[in-house]
């Protein structure tokens, strides 16, 4: 494991939590959720129910009405701020486990990696507040109208993330979205 090096990379407001991050996944379930729901909608809040839309292999439209997590930045999702916000699909972990086509040791390995948050495309959230253990699918992100979410769906949130929980979420989201190349990756100059 790393020593105190991590502190140099953390923003100031997260530095007091460096030990929690260093000890991850130990006690993850104790610090990822906030202790109460804030009045405003925040990035990382989980809505009880929303519509996720996908375009299938044939170009048809399919939808699922399931819990969803807010992907857009907090400042962009307040009423009257912009037209839409981005949400990602949230699956019930027990349902995911029961209905996953992998079996035996392969499934066990997959679920262990998932719970340790080792899979970049997925984000594991342990139970907390009103949320059951959940799997967030970063590959299924949909835009929805801000008016669709405010005010009723904001009232029916299942959880909101703590300060360090939000940083942890952002860390995985940034890794998934930007996928940094190694420093020695070959690049060509733009023409």
């Amino acid at each position: 494991m790393f020593g105190d090096d991590i502190a140099a990379y953390l923003p100031e407001h997260i530095r007091p939590f460096k030990k929690l991050l260093k000890d991850f996944p130990e006690n993850y379930e104790k610090w990822v959720h906030s202790t109460s729901l804030p009045n405003e909608l925040y990035q990382g809040d989980v809505l009880d129910s929303a519509i996720i839309v996908n375009v299938d292999d044939q170009g048809g439209i399919e939808r699922a009405e399931i819990p969803a997590i807010v992907i857009s930045c907090t400042c962009d999702i307040q009423p009257g701020r912009s037209d839409t916000l981005l949400i990602a699909a949230v699956y019930d972990f027990e349902d995911y486990k029961r209905n996953h086509p992998l079996t035996d040791s392969k499934l066990e390995e997959h679920l262990k990696a998932l719970q340790r948050n080792e899979i970049a495309n997925l984000f594991y959230l342990p139970p907390g507040q009103k949320l059951k253990a959940s799997v967030i699918d970063f590959q299924l992100i949909s835009p929805v109208s801000l008016s669709y979410v405010h005010p009723n769906r904001v009232k029916n949130r299942l959880t909101s993330l703590s300060q360090v929980g939000h940083y942890f979420f952002l860390m995985k989201l940034a890794h998934h979205m930007t996928r940094p190349e190694p420093e020695d990756a070959k690049r060509e100059q733009p023409k």
Partner: protein, 125 residues
């Protein structure tokens, strides 16, 4: 214009952090002056500033203006926050790999399993 030779960054300090420290130092020590920062052979930081690793980066100069108290300053052309943005992203990625050393993509069977699981939840419109 002042020209100061700054010592190399200490072991373990990232280049962007070093650069930030030096900028802050310049801001504290001077008002209303331009500070020329010359970086020698630092491809990592050069990359953060928009250079490519393949660029022959022997020396890079950055002019930093201190003590901008002029009320019209907002109307002037300003440098972008590219360094802060790229440093923030770079730090998030670094911390992700430190906190989760086994971070990886879905394997093919896992991706296939996820695809089949989604089919249970989605309905055609």
């Amino acid at each position: 214009m002042n020209q100061t030779v700054l010592r190399e960054r200490s072991t373990g300090q990232s280049a962007p952090m070093w650069f930030n420290d030096k900028m802050e130092l310049a801001e504290k020590g001077l008002t209303g002056e331009a500070v020329l920062i010359v970086l020698n052979s630092n491809p990592f930081l050069g990359n953060a500033l928009g250079y490519y690793p393949s660029d022959p980066l022997e020396q890079l100069t950055v002019t930093y203006y201190t003590g901008m108290t002029d009320p019209d300053a907002n109307f002037r052309v300003r440098d972008s926050h590219l360094l802060a943005w790229s440093q923030n992203l770079s730090n998030l990625g670094t911390v992700a790999r430190m906190v989760i050393p086994g971070l990886r993509e879905l394997t093919e069977p896992e991706q296939d399993g996820l695809r089949q699981y989604r089919k249970r939840l989605f309905r055609k419109v």
